[in-house]
Symmetry: C2
Subunit: 210 residues, 2 copies
DNA sequence: ATCCTATGTAGACGGATGTTTACTTGCAAC
DNA sequence: GTTGCAAGTAAACATCCGTCTACATAGGAT
């Protein structure tokens, strides 16, 4: 869990004949603010997606990005700020939701079912699920859900109480996180994928119907 | 968040005339293993229910139970063990699920809607939600969900893939936690309670139907 | 009244974490 | 080549946490 110390003084042994180390990084890296910032952000996105906010330390992020811990704070302020920036870059669900109200339940169902079929080590739902219960990122999570899910969904709904209906659909989406985390995927794969999608479509339809 | 230090040396001032302190506890308590154990367990149940596993410290529990930190470990082993014991005592949902398959979707919907109407500071869903992402209690959570939700639900289901259907219903239940935590209750109360219950019934029916 | 044990207590230990500080060094403008 | 600043580094700081150890004492058995 620790001991990922990068004990390469990065100055000794400048002429490493060829990259013998696993990572394909140059023996001595150019100083590049933007590149470093991006490496940190990418590492943070991966790690937060895998282990959630609480499961990741600044030192883990720095090690994964092959950067110094202090740089994380220099470029992003605090851990919570970095998390917020990672989250603000996610936009997969927005694309799923866009596309017109008729097919919306089915598109949501297919997104859900897709996550059951192809386990992605990193995904937004995984990140949301595993970051629950950390008050310092509640605002970031709320903003993401509002901007990327609820608001675009409400924009497509006719009839009364669109917001309550969108929240019920979100409930299904968010429930997938804990269920997958605890039970794994095999139980949900019990039936064939098409039946799962059909059933989910019916659930989303019930949540969203006017 | 801290400084709940109980600085009562508990021996000085033995003859406090009457309980002037807010808590109705005797100035000097009798030594009582069972009572102390129960106080700790009750405090743990309340606090875990409010803040989740990670949001509660052993010191908070001890302070709330007016006991010593070491006693928590003496009586319960570790924090994770204490959490498991708290969880094993919860059985509200089992009662909701029992009662026959026909009314099951509606009973689940009413349970869900009830939590929207009467915000209980402590509840199982709240506890489950806020304890996500802590690997050391994953097994406890899984066991609870399996024993108290999925297994009793499966026992009532006819038709194919009962387990996958039960998991989909659980998805709705578990999604309620994050949604309530982040959005609060007002948005879901947009419509009148009966309509909410009806809609949830339809969702659970879609999840569970053969 | 005297022991003895289970109950309760105080405090430390070891480790982890977010964050900051003081320093070094690459790089480019002059 | 010199210099100044931004990029990068090492190490510490300040907490906080779960857990454990060594000690005090209440209260029943003798």
């Amino acid at each position: 869990m620790e001991a990922i110390q990068v004990d390469d003084p990065a100055g000794v042994d400048v002429d490493t004949p060829a990259g013998v180390d696993g990572d394909a990084r140059p023996a001595v890296r150019k100083r590049d603010r933007e590149a470093t910032r991006r490496r940190i952000l990418d590492a943070a996105r991966d790690l937060f997606g895998q282990h959630g906010y609480g499961g990741v330390t600044i030192r883990m992020i720095a090690a994964e990005a092959d950067a110094n811990t202090a740089l994380v704070h220099r470029y992003f302020g605090s851990k919570a700020d970095l998390f917020a920036e990672v989250l603000s870059g996610e936009s997969v669900l927005r694309g799923v939701i866009a596309g017109g109200p008729e097919g919306l339940p089915r598109r949501l169902a297919e997104y859900f079912a897709h996550q059951v079929e192809h386990r992605s080590v990193t995904s937004v739902s995984r990140l949301l699920d595993r970051s629950a219960g950390h008050p310092e990122v509640k605002q970031s999570l709320l903003r993401y859900l509002e901007d990327a899910i609820v608001e675009p969904m409400v924009a497509q709904l006719d009839g009364p109480n669109p917001r309550a209906r969108a929240l019920l659909a979100s409930t299904i989406l968010m429930g997938g996180g804990p269920v997958r985390r605890l039970f794994g995927l095999n139980d949900l794969r019990e039936a064939d994928p098409d039946e799962l999608t059909d059933r989910l479509t019916a659930m989303f339809t019930a949540a969203l119907a006017p």
